[in-house]
Amino acid sequence: MSKEMVLQTAPHLPAEDSTPKVMFSVILALIPALLAATYFFGYRALLVVTTCVLSAIVTELVFLYLRGKNLVLTDGSAILTGLLLGLTLPVRIHLSLAALGSIIAIALGKQIFGGLGHNIFNPALVGRAFLQASYPVLMTTWIAPLEHWTDNALAATTTATPLAETVEAGYRELFLGNIGGSLGETSALALLAGGLFLILLGNIDWRIPLSFLTSTAVVGGLLHLYNPGHPDPLTHLLSGGLMLGAFFMATDMVTTPITSIGSWIFGLGCGTLVVIIRLFGGQPGGVMYAILLMNAFTPIIDRYTRPSPFGEEGN
């Protein structure tokens, strides 16, 4: 026996899409967001993201070694997890904390469950939730964008995100990303471009972003009509991590439902929870908790939306 037998889980369909291909196209689609983050927050943004990616890779290798697996990173999932985590962090975060989040994301978010394909929760969001719970102040200290271009870069003022405080930011600023916030969460334009690219390639399920964004807008709009003090739907859509979450995190193949009805339910649940947590919850990070909660519901959604096999009585 020279060649190791590789066992893979069902379905065994011959397809052109392979795990590395999907992962690397998602990474490619995140490049605009990364560039926007660098433009708005300076080169430190690249440093934070690189730290996250490197620690994710090292953690993955250590765990693969401990579990007696081949030391290969070709599926690209560790790189993607690090990249996604980095984009949810504020630019001023200490690099050791960025690395810690990445280690937790891979170790407790993915490898503990048995590696890629077996994790229940989105690994990047597990890492971010850990950091959010441990360092609530550091994780929500944003700086004003573009100040790094001026001379007093070190004295950059801290600012609130449009959702956290009643900061009046125009739709244009929100759309382009000229606002305070986490690295990859500010520029809706860059995220939208990457997301549409992935949908056109067919690498992500269009149902989840569509139902996620629509339900956020509808639920947010209804509550805005009920009480005009709440943000209007467009502000909901363009601010916070919604675009990043809807296109890149809620579409993770492992932790979301596989049936199409399930995808609609998943997006609907995420959107509703986002609005509820944003308006009535005590903590920032509504998108993160919404997706993590719906991740937990994924197995039961899949179970109840299972299509009946051809020829059998429908239920």
Binding site: H94, L97, L100, L108, I112, S134, Y135, P136
Partner: protein, 202 residues
């Protein structure tokens, strides 16, 4: 015979550890292990109740009708829980406040009830005592390990003394409820891993 007594005592410490192997009494395990002192106090309080109840139950096992054995156990356990609660409140009021409702809740700790039902009710008193002693030691050990891990990582202290020397930033999440689940899960994983690697499975 001596070997039998040793088995009665030792099985509770690792092989059938109430927390790491049987997953019994999870409520206090998760709730009060935010500092090592709280974990140790809860372990000792539970140990007192478990040992005393096992002795009494094994003595009067012949007089308890089978149909009402569970209520009888509960009454006996509740008696000792009341004793523990009052003693803690009188001698260590701060610990008593920190443990809060979890001292009275020892009465529904399934570890204690399970030892009465599965061991003390059909074994002689000296063996019931050894069994309760071993289980208590295992439970207290597990609580101490879990709460030490959480206190060191969460606030950088052990029994209130700073131990990390500022080498790393405290993980605030570890003293929150989420930290209890995270550290318990990782510890159970490590316990199974070592058992498996060292071939301690019987």
């Amino acid at each position: 015979m001596r070997r039998q007594y040793w088995r009665d005592f030792a099985k509770g410490i690792w092989e059938q550890n109430p927390v790491f192997k049987q997953l019994l009494g999870m409520c206090p395990v998760l709730a009060v292990t935010n500092t090592a002192l709280n974990g140790l106090s809860m372990g000792l309080a539970t140990a007192f109740v478990l040992i005393s109840s096992s002795i009494i139950v094994s003595i009067i096992k012949g007089f308890i009708p089978r149909q009402v054995r569970i209520p009888s156990y509960i009454v006996i356990i509740a008696t000792f829980v009341t004793v523990a609660d009052l003693v803690l409140a009188a001698l260590f009021p701060e610990i008593s406040r920190a443990l809060g409702a979890y001292v009275p809740l020892i009465v529904v700790n399934c570890l204690i009830l399970s030892r009465q039902e599965s061991f003390a009710s059909d074994h002689p008193t000296h063996r019931a005592f050894l069994d309760a002693l071993g289980m208590s030691a295992g439970f207290t050990f597990a609580l101490l390990v879990l709460s030490s891990v959480r206190e060191i990582l969460g606030v950088g202290e052990l029994f209130g003394f700073p131990v990390t020397m500022g080498l790393f930033r405290d993980w605030g999440v570890m003293i929150l409820p989420a930290g209890a689940f995270l550290s318990l899960g990782v510890l159970i994983g490590l316990a199974n891993y070592t058992t498996h690697k060292l071939g301690w499975e019987s």
